[in-house]
Amino acid sequence: MKRENPPSILCFRVVVAILAVAFAFPAAAAAPRAPRAGAIRGRVELRKLPAPAERRMAVADLGVPIAAPVADLASRARSVVYLESAPRGAFEQSEPARVVMDQRNETFVPHVLAITTGTTVDFPNSDRIYHNVFSLSKIARFDLGRYAAGRSRPWRFDRPGIVRVFCEIHSHMNAFILVFGHPFFALTDLDGRYRIDNVPPGTYSVVAWNEGVAGDPRPVTVPDGGVAELDFTLR
């Protein structure tokens, strides 16, 4: 009958073997280590804040329409910064994600979403009234129909590109969904600051986008394990 070695003896033998290889082949131990991912960070400055979408003029509407929520105005200051050309391996399949774009106070919240392909976006209705989410964008043409408060309907975005989302009932409701085939993008905060992490070292073209306006691609070199700074000015 074959006698099995206890685990402690096995571990000892493995360590000895590794040390032996290391001493016997010093060149191998000095081989170049894998490049460390870096990051790109900076700020997107908007010369002019984009105006919120006005509701369609309808002189027959009775009463005064509600004004756009203040949060909606501020959310338009958020931009998206992304790599125009992604590094090799960036397009590998990732876990399908699920995010939410709410409909609240006749506003899509958030106003801008940046997602990867394969992501499903849920569109809950948090208002008392009906909403009807739809898009006629080339990469995602869909209509979720009218549904009431408390209900939600999903849509999966499988193609990269920019999707404009509207409500069929409320003309002033609109939002952007930017769908990327890679994960190298970031949404700025309300001050315009962004950071794209886990970028392999190399030189890339980076684009800043805000409310349908994309700046010219800007080159940036990400150092090994370092952080590259890149600011943009739009509008």
Binding site: M57, V59, A60, D61, L62, G63, D143, A149
Partner: protein, 416 residues
């Protein structure tokens, strides 16, 4: 019989050129970026919007689709330019709209001051040429709000009644059955002119309107005092009494809207009333209208129904007397279903009936009853660019004009 000259734009090529211009311009300008919404300037105090629709349809020898602006609703280039100037935040605004149909003339369709005394309360007062209080369809005034191309009969079909000319006898009225497009009577204005629909969708009345809603928005009510009537909205008063109109609307649950309306006011002009029965009685000759409407939508479908009853009291001049009130009842049901994103199908069934009066030789409805059914499709090329096509079947039970008519129409609608 007089018929308006065909406008220049109705040449066979014109609608196509316009459609191409509309299709081409926005597309070349970055998806939804070109005039995809109202134009706002003066720090957000002024908002401008526009609606353009070009409709081309087959010939209408039965005059089923003529409007009170003497244009066929199926052959029309309509341009609306609307604007609102906020003068004191949400408290005071000037709202107006200019409209031209077939470039014939420019009409101030709407022009009113809107006052909201309390920001936190849904209570508004409109003064001027104000939105309609009565009915549901009248506030869906843009072609993009209408799933089809034709209008409901109650809001468009011209009956044989006129406010400025009245028949002396029941026989005279019966002779004008089915001739609402162009009619004349022996009392009042002797010139031939068109009659009125039950409720005009093409003109607004002038006066004061009060609108209020509960905080939840479930209930809302509107009342107005205007110079004309629902059938004959006017800018300058043409008789001695105002119209009172009211509407109550409830939204008990999301997607369901139920409304009831009523209106009453002097219909016959002072001149015509004087010619019929002498001075001082024009307040007696009224139009009274009642309406009920319901709308339900869910998922991909939307259903609407509306009924309107209108009663007119005209002067009794000679025998055989008119049997008063002269009543008209309209019922319309329409539905829309979205087949694909941007593509929908729609249908409407419509009937307009009239009460019977006794002439010296016959008893008949005072105007010829009309049935209309219309089916159509609409496709959104962009959110604010829609193309529609429809087929309409009209039947009129009486009158000297063509009684059965099939019509096809196509429409391009662009709004910003």
């Amino acid at each position: 019989m007089h018929r308006p000259a065909r406008p220049v734009w109705l040449s066979p090529l014109a609608p196509g050129v316009l459609a191409l211009a509309l299709l081409g311009a926005p597309r070349s300008a970055c998806a939804q970026g070109f005039l995809s919404g109202p134009i706002v300037f003066a720090d957000g105090h002024v908002t401008l919007g526009g609606n353009i629709s070009a409709t081309i349809g087959s010939d209408d020898p039965g005059f089923f689709n003529y409007t009170d602006y003497e244009h066929s609703a199926l052959r029309m280039l309509r341009i609306d330019l609307s604007g609102a100037a906020r003068l004191a935040g949400d408290h005071l605004a000037l709202v107006g709209e200019l409209r031209t149909e077939n470039f014939h003339d420019l009409q101030p369709y709407a022009l009113y001051v809107r006052v909201r005394p309390w920001s936190a309360r849904a209570f508004d007062v409109g003064i001027g040429r104000i939105p309609p209080t009565f009915g549901a369809f009248a506030r869906r005034l843009y072609p993009s709000d209408n799933p089809l191309i034709g209008y409901p009969l109650a809001y468009q079909y011209l009956t044989s009644l006129r406010p400025d000319a009245v028949p002396a006898t029941a026989d005279e009225l019966l002779r004008r059955r089915g001739l609402g497009w162009l009619t004349r009577y022996s009392i009042g204005n002797a010139a031939a002119d068109h009659g009125v629909p039950l409720v005009s969708a093409f003109r607004w009345d002038t006066g004061v309107q009060v609108h209020a809603a509960t905080a939840s928005g479930v209930w809302s009510g509107t009342a107005s005092l205007t110079r004309g009537t629902v059938a004959n909205p006017v800018f300058h008063d043409d008789n001695s009494g105002p119209q009172i109109a009211g509407r109550l609307q409830v939204n008990p649950t999301a997607g369901l809207v139920v409304g009831a309306s009523a209106a009453r006011g002097p219909f016959v002009t002072s001149t015509a009333a004087r010619g019929a029965v002498g001075d001082g009685r024009d307040r007696e000759f009224t139009q009274t209208a009642y309406g009920a409407d319901v709308e339900y939508s869910r998922g991909y479908y939307l259903v609407r129904g509306e009924t309107i009853v209108s009663e007119w009291r005209l002067p009794l001049v000679r025998q055989p007397w008119l049997t008063l009130p002269l009543r008209a009842v309209a019922v319309a049901v329409e539905g829309r279903y979205k087949i694909l994103p941007g593509l929908y199908a729609a249908a409407r069934v419509d009937h307009l009936g009239f009460s019977r009066i006794a002439g010296s030789a016959t008893t008949a409805s005072w105007d010829a009853p009309v049935w209309r059914s219309e089916i159509g499709v609409g496709y959104s090329i962009m959110r604010n660019l829609i193309v529609k096509a429809s087929f309409q079947h009209n039947v009129r039970d009486g009158g000297p004009l063509k009684r059965h008519e099939n019509q096809t129409a196509a429409q391009v609608v662009f709004w910003f």
